[in-house]
Symmetry: C2
DNA sequence: ACCTGAACACCGTTCAAGT
DNA sequence: ACCTGAACACCGTTCAAGT
């Protein structure tokens, strides 16, 4: 008899999460509203409280999902590279491409101070993405492109760069279009690589 | 007779602006409320509408003021340097020091897409700060530290770097304390300078 | 278990007044 | 001119119910 159960009986949680991600992309963190998420999921305005303790917990889930997608974007971008150096550069390209495509999502991922302590899953997803970047750096070290030694500062340096270009571009402070921004990111990355070379 | 007029007769605007800046520093952009600003200024909840069209206009004023203070911080930090290269590095140090001291203010300054078109004063204050950074780059070019030519991409590159380190540090993604972050910023800046050298 | 409707204390903004 | 109080449509969160 119950061939198709209404979606809000049993698997509401993923529906809410997806609705939240879509809403954030449309309106940004400021326009983001728990009641509107519920509305879009077709449930009453406090049905979400069955699955998320409060608004912050839903936002943390959105941010966590964002890090997973960013990580996937970097891995995908680096996949077809042949050299270690190209893999690192492609990783950075994946980062900025994600940032330009989902600016509001990136904002949620990074502009939530104190979330790292409060939501371990969120923190872990961020570290996972960092790990992907570090493995590219380590490959460069082994290929002799970068100096041997602790890869940590080099990775943080690489991250700072793509993050800086991404955030500046999103906020409209770079005088480039989409393609120009990606070119600029490559120019910045290559300049940095030159400085990092052993 | 009117020796001391109550401050909300005549010069309410600067009082509101200062209250807003203080409130943002305390609660961040999300907790920031027009009604609370009015409360702190000791006026009714819609007295601010006499001086600002709406909440956005007050936020834009806060952001504009932020760029002026950031600019002053960079100029102050660079003032005592003797070489062009040191001046550029000090400028970057001024930037990150400001960012770590007023993280919420920096967020308001940069995470407001579309404000640049809507509020010319805000956009202009941002360009003013950019000009300060560019003059340091030009000095380095004239001193032979950087290659001659269009200073624009070099300046944007320098900006991207300090901005990236700042934002990453603020969001808690760098494993350093205050002093460590400033040291890391210097390491990043010097690596970059090495790559930029003619 | 999962969902709902009413309620509370907030918010931004508008409007009709007051001096 | 500058400020106020009441009002409107929202919000996050809680609570007592409904199935």
């Amino acid at each position: 008899m119950p061939a198709v159960r209404p979606y809000h009986h049993g698997n509401l949680k993923p529906v809410l999460l997806q609705a939240a991600i879509t809403l954030i992309a449309e309106t940004g963190p400021l326009g983001f509203t728990l009641r509107e998420v519920a509305r879009r999921a077709g449930v009453s305005h406090n049905a979400p409280y069955r699955h998320f303790r409060d608004k912050d917990e839903l936002i943390a889930a959105v941010a966590e999902q964002g890090f997973e997608r960013l990580n996937a974007a970097m891995i995908r971008a680096a996949a077809r590279s042949t050299s270690a150096e190209d893999r690192l550069l492609s990783c950075g390209r994946g980062y900025i491409t994600f940032a330009l495509r989902w600016p509001q999502h990136l904002q949620v991922m990074f502009d939530l101070p104190s979330f790292r302590e409060r939501y371990p899953g969120y923190a872990q997803a961020g570290e996972q993405a960092f790990t992907t970047l570090r493995s590219c750096v380590v490959d460069c070290q082994e290929a002799g492109v970068l100096a041997k030694g602790d890869p940590e500062p080099l990775t943080l340096l690489a991250w700072s760069i793509v993050h800086g270009v991404s955030k500046l571009a999103i906020s409209g402070h770079l005088p480039f279009g989409l393609k120009g921004t990606i070119q600029f990111n490559r120019y910045v990355s290559e300049t940095m690589l030159k400085g990092m070379r052993k």
